[in-house]
Amino acid sequence: MDWQAFALTLKLASLTTAILLCLAVPLAAWLVLGRSRWRAVAEAVTGLPLVLPPTVLGFYLLVLLGPLTGFGRALTSLLGHPLAFSFGGLVVGSVIYSFPFAVQPIVAGFTSVDGSLIDAARLLGAGKLRLLRTILIPLAGRSLLTAAILSFLHTMGEFGVVLMLGGDIPGATRTLSLVLFNQVEGFDYANANRTALMLLIFCVALLTVVYARPKSLAAGARHG
């Protein structure tokens, strides 16, 4: 078992999940409460990683963050090193790739909140931020948990983007899924089995949390 890769994978998944929640909650609120004509475009762009091959996304990110583009060169001069083939680049790629897994459950959760409650809060003077803080988040708490777990697990298991954008640098960009790939390629099936089993158990355990429907959070979604 490659514990260094395991720790790096956990670090990547945790950081990606935290960033995703910070971005996805306000975006989901805008999609649900907003009246902008750009909502449909935003939803389409958000859902793009669901249908795009990870290698395509990884390739474009590699080009964008590398020395071939002005943006990549500016970023490199700002950070002092290229973002591609670094842990930072991996985080950027993971955030983009797992974006729909965070946004869509939260949008579904916010949409399920009774419109009459939102109307009541607006009439009582709640602006969008207060509406989000006092009504949407408390009543759609379960969807936030679902989004966090799905984003975490999706990041843990991603392969294409990690390989394209991060390469395979031990301690910096080598995650468990890359370790598994290397073990299978080297016909080390015993260790590959351990790595795969580890990922499998981790995923089943966390998904059980999603489907177990904790009462304290599920209760919030039912109102009337």
Partner: protein, 251 residues
Amino acid sequence: MVEVDLKARRGGFQFEVACKFAAPWTVVFGPSGAGKSTLLRLIAGLELPEAGRICIHGQYMTDTEIRLRIPPGRRMTGLVAQQPALFPHLSVIENVAYGLAGRVDLGRQTKQQRIDAVLELVGASHLADRSPKRLSGGEAQRVALARALAPRPRLLMLDEPLSALDAGSRDQILTSLQGWLAGENIQTILVTHDAADALATEAEVALIAEGKLTALGPASEVLAIERERLLARLNCGQTRPARPVRKSKAK
């Protein structure tokens, strides 16, 4: 005074209402689906008209020509609908306090006094610490009314807000509410499809049918036909021959 001149397309009919609600207590009367609730939602700012303007106490809230749209929370209006829409994760007292949370001009003590006063007015003081999930339909409607009253709106709109209460309790609340609203100088628009409710209040009545305002004036004039119909029904009931009483077998 509330002035409206609105055009909106809703549910298969064209909604077109232009009038002034000047009386302290106006009853909007009409059959189900006539556009009564739409009128209140447009005034509250929860819906947008295709064209028109809304002016509440001299201040324009909506004017489609200049793309003016004051958000619902800044119109100082209260709307209580048939569905109480209490926040299920907050207690009754937290629900009532919700509209006062952003009021920096009021001290904590004043806010508490207001909450206590409105809960007492609707007879819900004993429910203060309860969760909305443990309230009956009538209790929930009382709390929803208290929540709308706590911020002291300039205009209160009631869309059949006490339908879950029995007639006695409803009359009792409406009577005390009318006095309280008059004291606080809060203009009220009450929606009903029950002619008896409209006639009982002695208020100005606006008659709406198929999205159009067909009459506006004193209840006795506007609802004269409805009044005759109700009286005819009452007389008919009184003159109906009494059914023969069957003798009970068990003695």
